[in-house]
Symmetry: none
Subunit: 242 residues, 2 copies
């Protein structure tokens, strides 16, 4: 158990080593904890990545971990980033989108491991990936061209969330530890089971499950809350099946 | 005379065209007015600069102006940026250094042309250049490695000062109307009914109900979320009672 909030950067299928290096530099510049790569290119932390990393070539870049997205979701409270504005029929994949400023408020007293997750240079995160995130964040930008370069997006998020770090000067309330992400994932599985049991319209079930995940994601559940909620949902499932 | 604030980026003796392109992209991403180059390299807006500029290669980059520092100082309210902490005998060259957040407050009612001025990749702004600036700003960063890459520094300043722009309605994120409180109260009533049905320990029921209310309370539910949640809970109650 931890008594502070740690921020990590996760890059999914980055293709440009320069962006990986830029991300590593931003992590070091703003005092984040580390870099996790999902399906990185070969030599992801060599060559051009080192050239862009500055002094982070000595620590953050060589320490970058490789992991699956499932492992990321089990280990971190995840914040997916997207430049795409919500569209009609979005079905809770991108909505409601929060902002870095709002995250600084809502996570102000949270402790634990939080990952900011970025998608591919060209396409960002897929809808399936976004659906796995606990929260979705959009960087406020000009509507005529809101798509940031990947390295720039990481830099902005690292800057904007730095006030959350324990060594950054700020005022905060008593710490609230996040629940174990794996336990939260288990809760989501039970919630989906309950929805399957009670929602007669099959086409609504996935959408409702995503909505529930978003609601609980932005509530930043504690371990005790996850345990109690899991108990209520499991008993409801058992009672429905009786 | 103008009735709004416009933000410009000035780069003094930039040497890496990629950084010039990154600056142009940040200017377009965050809706700033334009780019001014002082003593740029040859072909400053071609080749690699275009590759890094994204869609800004079509407008911001080719429209970049070249000017002397004296001309910049005569035309703009200037904010010099520096990562360097004040040193003894600094004689007010770097002090007092403001921050982007403080600038957003102090410039909130300002209109006119404001330039954020960045120095060389390796050395930043000289003391003589800093002495010409109206204000000096430092980006809050980790003291062990506060030196940002030039393109990243421009991106952070563009993001951080965007709330000053009159046409930035998204600075606080899209407005999210809260659900009708009466509908939310009705949801809480159903939640309590479900807890009564499935929680065997009577003394836990009220406490669990309060916990659920707090979780949903801090999630700031929308009308659609309340409607969907209410449907799931009502159907669960009906299924349990069957």
């Amino acid at each position: 158990m931890s008594d502070q909030l740690r921020l990590w950067v996760v890059l999914i299928e980055p293709r440009t080593p320069g962006n990986i290096g830029t991300a590593a530099r931003a992590i070091k510049n703003f005092g984040l904890s580390g870099l996790v790569l999902v399906d990185p290119p070969t030599a992801a932390t060599a060559g051009e990545a080192r050239a862009f990393a500055g002094q982070a070539r000595e620590d953050v870049l060589p320490a970058a971990e490789t992991a699956s997205l499932d492992a990321v979701v089990d280990r971190f409270h995840t914040i997916g980033t997207t430049a795409t504005l919500p569209v009609r029929g979005d079905d809770h994949v991108r909505t409601p989108a929060t902002t870095p400023t709002a995250l600084c408020d809502s996570l102000a007293s949270t402790v634990g491991d939080v990952a900011v997750v970025f998608g591919r240079e060209r396409d960002g995160l897929t809808n399936a990936e976004l659906a796995l995130m606990d929260e979705v964040c959009t960087i406020p930008a000009d509507p005529t061209y809101p798509v940031l370069n990947l390295g720039q997006a990481v830099t902005v998020m690292a800057y904007a969330l730095r006030p959350l770090l324990a060594d950054a000067p700020h005022a905060r309330g008593p710490p609230t530890p996040l629940a174990d992400p794996a336990a939260t994932q288990q809760l989501y599985t039970y919630l989906q089971q309950l929805v399957e049991l009670v929602e007669p319209k099959e086409h609504k079930r996935a959408k409702t499950g995503r909505m529930l995940r978003r609601i609980f994601g932005r509530a930043h559940l504690t371990a005790g809350e996850v345990a109690t909620l899991t108990g209520v949902i499991r008993r409801s499932i058992a009672a429905v099946r009786d």
